[in-house]
């Protein structure tokens, strides 16, 4: 009986340990898989058939996957992702941080209890729905306001993505502001500063690392977003910095072309290479954000 019990204990412990390590291992598995599948593009598949040059993938300014011979240039797609992301942040960061500041520093407690979950509900709206609303409402508005040809522009994508990243920014920024010890505010108010001076000169600087982490995580969310940009940015692989132009992002390219490509073809491997680039960028973004969050945590626990 005791033997059986010890066996059960060991088996249970072993099972949950496996689950823990398997969940963590998934990250490495995904990375390994993306790298392995990308390699199919760059390595020679048959004697006499050289692989696609890495330099060309990184510097070529055209993405022409079905041309003969095909051209797989990362530049226009990466630029598309950057333009849309930058535009979304220009809109979402001021709004998100201001809303977080209102919730943490100005609003009465009962209002915060209502508003914070409501804003988080915004995050529950699926991106395909945001994309559809962008298509049916934002695009016509952009078209008539900026006299663009179709309304399907980088700016339209930025607006849609701003809406999607705001809940992330508000939630994390509000947490960062709320973590600033009350004694900071009390000290500032006691010295005669008013509430706004206290917020702006004391609380916001103290929470800066956490606010930065909020912005970075918002950027990460935008960069990886697929359906909304696929539906509203027009998907032309242009080299442009003008938000009124149509652009095509890395994510939209993967989603749109994966269904049309033959498994094992160069095009197929090129889409995995795009996935690998995207994955590495989001890993770096998350790493950066967690280091800022860690710094914020240390700062707050050091000074009380």
């Amino acid at each position: 009986m005791t033997d059986r019990r010890a066996l059960l204990e060991g088996a249970f412990r072993w099972a949950v340990t496996c689950a823990g390590f398997a969940s963590a291992g998934a990250v490495l598995l995904i990375l390994g898989f993306l790298v392995a599948e990308s390699a199919g593009l760059f390595l020679s598949q048959a004697p006499g058939e050289p692989g696609y040059p890495v330099g060309s993938f990184l510097t070529e300014t055209r993405w022409l996957p079905i041309k003969n011979p095909p051209v797989f240039g990362l530049v226009p797609l990466a630029l598309g992702s950057i333009v849309v992301t930058a535009g979304a942040l220009v809109i979402a960061v001021p709004l998100g941080l201001a809303a977080a500041t209102f919730l943490a520093e100005v609003s009465p407690g009962w209002l915060r209890e209502v508003l914070k979950p409501t804003i988080e509900l915004l995050a529950a709206i699926p991106s395909v729905v945001i994309g559809f609303v962008g298509l049916s409402v934002v695009a016509p508005a952009v078209k008539s306001l900026f006299h663009t040809q179709s309304g399907l522009t980088a700016l339209t994508g930025s607006i849609a993505l701003a809406i999607m990243s705001i809940p992330t920014i508000v939630t994390i920024a509000e947490d960062a502001l709320a973590a600033v010890p009350m004694s900071y505010r009390d000290a500032s108010l006691a010295l005669g500063a008013n509430r706004w001076q206290t917020t702006w000169r004391v609380v916001v600087p103290a929470a800066a690392p956490g606010l930065l982490a909020a912005v970075i995580l918002g950027a990460g969310r935008v960069l990886g977003e697929t359906m909304a940009v696929l539906m509203v940015t027009g998907n032309a692989a242009n080299i442009t910095l003008d938000p009124r132009d149509s652009v095509r992002t890395i994510t939209a390219t993967i989603a749109q072309e994966m269904g049309e490509t033959a498994r094992g073809s160069d095009h197929y491997h090129a889409l995995f290479a795009l996935g690998a680039v995207l994955y590495l960028v989001t890993l770096a973004t998350n790493g950066l954000a967690s280091s800022f969050l860690e710094r914020a945590r240390r700062r707050m626990s050091g000074a009380r």
Binding site: V16, A24, I30, L103, P126, F132, I163
Partner: protein, 277 residues
């Protein structure tokens, strides 16, 4: 004076942030209203998605939610039990946590690529419900783990000590005392994960969803329809769709997602009350 101006701006920003939520909800239900009757939910689409209802897509979405939860919940809860109850505080554990945190940041389209490579091709599931289940399960796994671990952490140590003091083993304590106490939090995480599974489009687009398939899937190796992808299709891929159709489809999807969140809130409150009684 500056204080009044500054606070007014903060209030304005908060209002601007909230507007899209209500705008989207009102827009979808008002514009979709003409179609949103019982038959819209019970009839299959006809004429290459240009007419008819959304029955197979709605059922497909519910199937996605159930399957995703059924796969991710056991693994996620077990991983959370390891992290909270067994893991030593060392470098390896910190790496495991870091990896799970990073898994949460992987873009959904990358999950789709991975699912295509592993589940569809390597494991020969084909473009299927099963492949999409597995892909989405991995996608929501960090959500399930984080929520479950938080729920386990909220169980007071005195409960564990009392159980072990009565002679129960660690496994018995976890299964009979800690898990039941943590159930509300775990369920909330599971329901959040299901809401996410309902809304995701890019991963299923690559791993198994069907463009037009009026019949329900007969097994897990069949393709299926889903509301999220169906909305993408009727909004962008099919010409001459009646204008209300995409609005009504989006409204149906939002209903499922919001109802899921509401269930999470109610279930949580109910279980918490029962535990207190």
């Amino acid at each position: 004076m500056t204080e009044i101006v500054a606070h007014t701006l903060l209030v304005l920003a908060t209002v601007v942030v909230l507007v899209p939520l209500f705008f989207v909800l009102v827009l979808l239900f008002v514009r979709g209203a003409p179609l949103l009757g019982i038959s819209f939910f019970t009839e299959p689409p006809r004429d290459m998605n240009k007419a008819g209802g959304i029955m197979p897509a709605a059922v497909g979405t519910l199937l996605l939610m159930a399957g995703t939860a059924a796969i991710s919940l056991p693994v996620g809860v077990a991983a959370a039990i390891y992290l909270r109850e067994y893991a030593p505080d060392n470098r390896a554990t910190r790496l495991v946590r870091l990896a799970i945190l990073n898994l949460a940041g992987v873009p959904s389209v990358v999950h789709g690529l991975f699912g295509l490579g592993i589940f569809v091709i390597l494991l020969r599931f084909g473009s299927s419900l099963l492949a999409s289940w597995c892909t989405l399960a991995l996608l929501v796994l960090p959500t399930v783990i984080t929520a479950s671990e938080e729920a386990l952490r909220a169980v007071p140590d005195s409960l564990r000590e009392a159980s072990e003091g009565l002679g129960a083993t660690k496994r018995q304590t976890i299964l009979r005392v800690v898990l039941p106490a943590a159930l509300p939090g775990i369920l909330t995480g599971a329901i959040l994960a299901m809401g996410r599974a309902a809304g995701e489009t890019a991963p299923i687009l690559i791993t198994g969803v069907a463009f037009f398939c009026p019949e329900l899937p007969h097994g897990v190796f069949d393709q299926f329809m889903a509301l999220s992808y169906h909305l993408y299709v009727v909004a962008t891929q099919v010409p001459h769709v009646p204008p209300e159709l995409p609005y009504a489809t989006a409204a149906a999807l939002i209903q499922i997602v919001l109802a899921t969140s509401a269930v999470a809130v109610v279930a949580r409150a109910h279980l918490r009350r029962r535990r207190l009684a």
